[in-house]
């Protein structure tokens, strides 16, 4: 009887030790899976802009929307950097910095392009996982750079004075070449 009691006590202690030992499993169960390779190393292409983002939410679609919108916002910032750089080259080459009215018109054209140029930005890749009680979405968004350049060129063409001043410049020729390449690639894809 004493032996049985000892055995029982030993077994109970062993069960408690195994059950409450902690181990390497976290308190909250997760199923994050592998982080996608394209999230860690986004693709690189001179004709496209890429942005990645990840977000969580208890509602799956909100997680996807958060991640996608944040990625698109990042695309907008990248486009703004490109357009600002282009603006600087135009002003330096054509000297419109001295003409306040022209400079203002060109700045307006650039701002319009940045706020409306996200036409054709797409969720190139997406992965949805369960992360504890939440959903986690990884998103890669792609945007053709040629579309922003095309939009900027069209904005410039709308203003006759700007167009007259710019079309002879080297910067405009390069912009025009890039846009033509983009239009060709759209036809030939």
């Amino acid at each position: 009887m004493q032996i049985l009691k000892s055995l029982f006590a030993t077994a109970l202690v062993a069960v408690l030790l195994v059950g409450c030992g902690g181990g390497s499993e976290p308190l909250q169960k997760t199923d994050t899976g592998d982080v996608p390779d394209w999230y860690v190393s986004p693709p690189s292409d001179p004709n496209y802009l890429y942005a990645v983002n990840t977000s969580t939410s208890k509602d799956m679609q909100i997680a996807v929307d958060k991640a996608t919108q944040a990625a698109r916002t990042e695309l907008g910032r990248q486009v703004e950097v490109k357009v600002n750089a282009l603006q600087k080259r135009f002003t330096e080459e054509t000297g419109i910095a001295d003409d306040a009215q022209l400079l203002d018109q060109f700045t307006q054209a650039s701002k319009t392009v940045v706020s409306t140029s996200l036409s054709g930005s797409k969720e190139k890749q997406k992965k949805i996982l369960k992360d504890g009680n939440n959903w986690r979405a990884y998103v890669l968004v792609e945007y053709p750079l040629g579309a922003a350049q095309e939009a900027l060129r069209e904005q410039i063409k709308k203003n006759e004075q700007l167009y007259t001043k710019f079309r002879a410049s080297q910067t405009y020729k390069e912009l025009d070449d890039e846009v033509q390449k983009y239009e060709q690639s759209k036809k030939g894809e």
């Binding site: 929307d65 919108q69 996200l118 969720e123 890749q125 992965k127 949805i128």
Partner: protein, 247 residues
Amino acid sequence: MYFRGCMKAIVLILTLCAAAVAQEYPRWFLQQDQLPCRPNVVMVMRAPSLYKDSAVALAFRTGCELLAKYTNVRISGGQTFWTTEAGVHSMGAHYTEVFDSSLTDQFQSSLKIIAAFVDKNKTIVLAGDSSACVLNDELQSSVRMETLPQPGWVEKLPVVTGYYYGVGSSEEYFYEVSSWQRAEQNAFMSLARTTHSKVVSLQKKSAIESQDLFNEDVDVQLKNVEIIARWKDLQKKIFYVLARTKQ
């Protein structure tokens, strides 16, 4: 006690059978792009509560309204997110869809019910031009979802010249129909955002905090939206729908 055990076993077996049947779908539902006729529409609705024919008729009428929307619709609205150190918070979303509802009557008179699939959980109806929409044996057959591998488009959008693609996803709801409908609506909205979206962001950063407010507005006209394919991840319980529209 023995009787209770038997009853529990019977209930368990019946539930498992129902679940097994519920994972079967017609191929024309999962591979809608393979259908030989345009326009066509597939509508998923709740299982019939009493009369199967009434459920099919209701699904047909609702499907015609859905097709009217997919033919030509203007979507406008937006959503805003606010990011702080505590995380990203949804500040709300509001969208309106405006389409010509007279097309619904036009489709109701010109389209016919080509096929219907009814089980315990859902009623699925395919409507199209009866003379052109002749389904071959493969399309008419049913397939079990667990036999289908994950399609490539679930994680990577197809690239086809002249088309925008969008993938919508949904978690599992109590009614399976709600999951399919939500995934389809999300695919539709993804197409709208791909076609054109305006993103505005305001970032504030100080010594003690940083915030980011970003807003996305959509105001687009979508025409001839097509649902291409559907798939369900049984393990993660996520429903996926692939849609496309011409650029």
